[in-house]
């Protein structure tokens, strides 16, 4: 039993980016000072998160609550291994994305940059709120705030395409959460007799029965539609109308990972692995996830728009995570939690590259990338590393998490699921490697590009190099992540 300790730091970590919002709006007329605030907030936030790391590694659980809003349910922060891991990933990548966004937005001379950065800070605040949420209601509230605060980012361009994309985005995310999560949450609240705080054990008990248990489980799994599980996945490709920094941080890391994070929380915190084993209902989720993995990979193959291809790849990778958790084995859960981090580094690299290509060359279709490797060698090298990581090949972090996932699957004796992993890995390779190959190794006459090197501005280039590097480092040094994941899965 981990010791629970009161601490103000989770609250502060949450508050920092929230306080940045008014500051950003007030400094709207001075872009440099405005971006300064963003960086300051991002770094301070990362600092706070790091401050909590040693405490959590000692096995402590940090806890902070205020304002009991409904009988027995306060707004509560509770930091454990899973939460801190997610917070580290999100807040560290925020720093890089801020730098990237700076380069991207300025070189494209985007409009309404103040709104953009303000909403960005707000959505980061909500993300941290989800990561540290100590009960279902807090989780739900921040989940909704995240949906709403990212809406202006998705519809940033304000044209017809952005508006219809934004409509799909909001209707899918809000619709599912209100229709499924809210009743499931109230059901738990009622069943538990007025208490939905997460603890080490499970919230529900066996008396729920398999039927009701399955309904509640599915309501949560589909309700947190940010996890991109089919059939509620179509918001993600539609959200690709957003500027690339948004797609990179939010739709490869923060928003979608919030979705799977919530599902992991539901599996480990609300139901508990033991209970799910007894009820024997998780296998339904496994198969839905397996279906999503294969289908989305197939769709990704046919996408010519680079960002959409990445989006469908993300949908598949997210389902890996859900699949891993639903195996109900320590190895699978560890693999899932690891994959949250590893996929984040890999996918954000790919998005950064896509954005860099757009900034430098104004290209956004896969078919236009033939021969671009000579023009933008650094970007495309990073792209190659990112692809390797997402496919799960050495020497990238993706291999580590996939290793655990495959091991978990093997341990569970579900050969069919093992085959799913295998096929999808091949498909991943099929939709990424040709891009890399044709970018570098095409015949000169095929190449669509001429002339010397022309990379994106440094502000774009540096972040993508760092994230590519992180992907590699996390292969050689995954210890911290494994340790944090173990805090949850070994219970």
């Amino acid at each position: 039993m981990a010791s629970v300790e009161f601490s103000l730091i989770p609250f502060l970590a949450w508050l920092v980016s929230l306080l940045a919002v008014p500051a950003i709006i007030l400094l709207g007329k001075k872009p440099d000072a405005r971006e300064g605030i963003t960086f300051l907030a991002a770094i301070v936030k990362f600092g706070f998160v790091l401050l909590m790391l040693p405490l959590v590694r000692e096995g402590k659980i940090l806890h902070f609550s205020f304002s009991e809003i409904i009988e027995g349910i306060p707004i509560e922060f509770r930091v454990d291994g899973l939460g801190i891991l997610f917070a580290i990933v999100a807040s560290s990548l925020w720093i890089l994305t801020s730098l990237y966004a700076l380069g991207y937005m300025r070189s494209l001379k985007e409009h309404d940059q103040t709104r953009f950065f303000a909403c960005f800070a707000l959505s980061l605040s909500a993300t941290i709120g989800v990561a540290f949420a100590g009960n279902l209601l807090t989780l739900y509230i921040f989940y909704e705030i995240l949906s709403l605060s990212t809406y202006p980012l998705v519809t940033h361009h304000g044209d017809k395409e952005a508006r219809s994309g934004g409509r799909t985005y909001l209707s899918h995310l809000l619709g599912t959460s209100v229709a499924f999560v809210l009743p499931a949450m109230i059901y738990c609240y009622w069943k538990k007799g007025g208490d939905i705080n997460f603890t080490d054990g499970s919230l529900l008990t066996t008396d729920i029965g398999s039927g009701a248990g399955l309904i509640v489980l599915l309501a949560f799994t589909f309700g947190f539609a940010k996890n991109g599980l089919m059939p509620f996945h179509s918001w993600l490709p539609n959200a690709m109308v957003a500027p690339t920094p948004v797609s990179a941080l939010l739709h490869a890391v923060a928003v979608v990972k919030v979705g799977v994070f919530c599902v992991i929380r539901v599996f480990t915190g609300v139901f508990g692995i033991d209970l799910l084993e007894k009820l024997d209902i998780a296998v339904v989720v496994s198969w839905i996830a397996a279906f999503t993995v294969i289908t989305s990979s197939l769709i990704a193959l046919s996408q010519d728009n680079l960002k959409r291809r990445l989006a469908f790849s993300t949908i598949g990778q997210l389902s890996y995570i859900i699949l891993g958790v639903s195996l109900l084995l320590p190895l699978g859960v560890t693999g899932s939690i690891l994959h949250v981090a590893m996929h984040a580094f890999g996918k954000i690299t790919l998005f950064f590259c896509a954005g860099a290509i757009y900034v430098a060359m104004h290209k956004k279709y896969v078919s236009e990338l033939v021969g671009i490797g000579r023009k933008m060698p650094i970007t495309m090298t990073a792209f190659a590393i990112g692809s390797l990581s997402v496919i799960g090949l050495p020497v990238t972090g993706g291999l580590v998490s996939k290793w655990y996932l495959v091991m978990g699957t093997a341990q569970s004796d579900q050969i069919a699921l093992l085959v799913v992993f295998l096929i999808s890995s091949i498909l991943n390779a099929c939709y990424f490697l040709p891009i890399v190959y044709r970018a570098f190794f095409c015949r000169p006459e095929e190449s669509l590009y001429e002339g010397g090197r022309q990379e994106a501005p440094l502000a774009c280039l540096i972040p993508l190099c760092i994230t590519a590097l992180l992907s590699v480092i996390s292969f050689f040094n995954p210890g911290l992540f494994i340790e944090l994941a173990g805090l949850i899965s070994n219970k």
Partner: protein, 511 residues
Amino acid sequence: MTDHLPILLLLLPLFGSLICVLLGRNNAAHSWVVAMISLGGSALLSLLMLIKVLGLKSGDFRYRMGGWPESSSYEVGIELRVDVLACLIVLAVMIVGFLNTIYSKTRVSAEVGEKGSFFYALIQLLIVGLCGIIMTNDAFNLYVLIEITSLTSYALIAMGNRRAALSSFNYVIMGTIGASFYLLGVGYLYIKTGTLNIDDIHNYLRSENLWASQSIVVAFILIMLGVWTKMAFFPLHGWLPNAYSYAPSMTGTFMAPLMTKVMVYVMIRVMLWLFGSDFVYSTESIWSELIIWMSVVAIVAGSFLALARNDIKKMLTYLIIAEVGYMVGGAWLGNLNGQAGAFYHILSDAAMTFCLFIAASIVIIRTGESRLNAFDDLFRKMPITMIGFTIGGLSMIGLPPTCGFFSKWYLIKGGVETGQWEFVVALLFSSLINAVIFFKIFERAYFGKIKGIKEEVTVQDRDTIPAGGIKSVPLSMLIPLCVGSLSILIIGIMNKNIFSWITKALEMVNG
């Protein structure tokens, strides 16, 4: 002094309205001052009353009109009865009345012309009637007060344009049928029990065990039909949308949040205090099943009808019809959470409807357009108005921390507890429809017109509204809006306290 609070807060607006009449035509400015004083004073008194009642151990107190002595058997005089629930609603009525008077300041001369002082007289009378309905403990008095509010509201609505007169006429017909049904039901009760005091009727029904009597069942049905007509419970809602949307704007902003809600309170009062929960819920359990299904239909139909409307105020009025479904369903769930949720929703719905109606009125007045395309690009031009509208809209959808979320929370919890899943589904469904409705508007207001797509009708040049149009909206309209949207948040954040007061009062009557 504090013993006389209930009657004092009725007398203040009553005399206020008399003074307004005496001031005569063309004296709207003075009448406004009179109304502000009387309603402000009454609002303070009702706050005092709430504080007093919260301090009472017994939970309620009675005021004997005319000083009739207490008697051992039936009550002779007419009683006012005040408990926490009544106090909360009276406070809501007074605050909405006061804020609405502020709002009316500039609108009265524009919309009703020289009859301004009569408008203030009527609105104060209406408030007297509403508070009387809430506090009275006498079934027949309740009828008279219902008719007082109805008569004043017919007149208030008819002050609008020619369509308003027609819809007011329809309202007269429907309203009279409703009130007469209620009177008929009271007649049956009186024949059976020989008294009109609500507590006495209840005790008599209980002691003589008259619940199986056909006359009582008929009386109950008649009263329910009457009350439902008055509260526009689907399918008895026909009169409401036209009446509220064609009425002068300051009439709409007052009546939309309050009239139906007060009638919902009357329904709860009739159910729990007059007939008693034993009769209402258990003996005729088919009823609650049936009525919950009716409320499900009301919620779904109201939401769909709202979705189909392109007129701002019409859309909002259909939303009211859906919300009435929430409250009726909640009250009929038959458990504490449902009842308290329905009651809490009365308060929160009053706040959010007020907010939305004020914002919508401002938008319609400023843009001169009553269809949804009035909202094009308004976030930039009228930011404060739109923020108020947004808060109201989010509350309608039911997102935390607005009060709409918490009322839905309690109602759904009530539905889950009793296993009325159809009600839960209907609530969630209407949330989703509301989300569609409001985000459609937010999108328009946020992005403006899509370039390259021609609107079917462009009534007037949108550029006549200056950017940052806040300066062109008088403060007397913005203050009520701001207070209204703040109160949405306050009711939301204070939900735990309010809810515990409500449950305590309800536990007392449920036994």
